[in-house]
Symmetry: C2
Subunit: 199 residues, 2 copies
């Protein structure tokens, strides 16, 4: 139940965002959305055409937030490895998983072009943005020149998404932290190799 300090439309969007994160599109009913928002059916169907329309609004907002949060960590000054580390080590609700990546497992979301687009675009953007950071690190001689930025970026995002899966399976954040530590260790050796070549 969200604060009545904001209007019903806003509460309905936030309620939907939370439920999509917890239960996905298929597992979320209009009734559950309304109850969590403290709004009736009439209110929901006044502001939105239905479950689909509401979910679209919610997904777009979630995707935008994720992108902004990532950009905030990746656009600061510092080494490429430092920025990637800051992004990977940022505080996360590990056991809840990624609110965007989660939607890729939802058949009704993936089957609908409108609902799917924000998911596809967000993860594509994230891979491209990380590849850019890695390329900067390579250009600066900080990372080994043999490192392939797009492939390594895909690996990093995959470790993140897969780390969530392992954490949820185990019921603890442990495997997530291990997976992140593991890939950062591999990247660090790459950086050390680059330093050795420069020497």
């Amino acid at each position: 139940m969200y604060s009545k300090g904001v209007n019903a439309e806003e509460r309905l969007i936030e309620s939907t965002r939370a439920l999509l994160w917890e239960r996905g599109y298929v597992g979320t009913s209009p009734k559950a959305i309304q109850q969590r928002a403290g709004a009736g059916q009439g209110s929901m169907y006044h502001h939105f055409a239905g479950k689909h329309d509401l979910a679209l609004t919610a997904i777009r907002r979630t995707a935008e937030e994720l992108r902004a949060a990532a950009e905030a960590r990746l656009s600061v000054p510092g080494t490429a490895l430092g920025r990637v580390t800051a992004y990977l080590r940022r505080e996360r609700d590990v056991l809840k998983g990624c609110p965007v990546g989660r939607l890729t497992q939802d058949p009704d979301v993936m089957a609908d072009p409108a609902l799917r687009a924000p998911v596809e675009e967000t993860l594509a953007w994230l891979r491209a943005r990380l590849a850019q950071v890695l390329e900067e690190g390579r250009a600066a001689g900080e990372l080994d020149s043999r490192l392939d930025p797009p492939a390594t970026a895909a690996t990093i995002v995959a470790v993140l998404q897969g780390g969530y899966v392992l954490a949820r399976a185990s019921g603890t954040a442990d495997p997530f932290d291990q997976a992140i530590s593991g890939v950062l260790a591999l990247l660090t050796l790459h950086a050390a190799e680059a330093a050795r070549h420069r020497a």
Copy 2:
């Protein structure tokens, strides 16, 4: 619709396995299971106590199959990196995702101890098995001694699980292949480092 060559019980299990993979537990109805299996309600409720019981049988079988498929690639003779590569590069239905990892996103599966157990055990086993292979590689001097087997194993399984997420988001197997290539490239440099230290 499965071959009528096998009995209804078997067809119901396979139908459930396919639907859990495609739509998850929440997104799969008994009606859909019956239609795909070519069986009526009476048949389903004769062989199984209900959706939950049928799903439990299906999940256990899927988990066992995944484990056997992994063990087949990891237990052959060869270098650690070679066996890990064989496992990662094995043929996969990339766009369908992992039939076990997928279940971690299902709220009703994770909330039920019986349904969740096979998921938890399978992914824990996979991490431990990969850690064992990496440890063997380290002991043989094939991999860099600074490499942490459990963390690296978590990274490898995460890349796999996350690779599926990225592939589904993009609609192509491309990011999956990139993520696998990226992590293998990082591991290969580790192997090269180990060789340099031995020299």
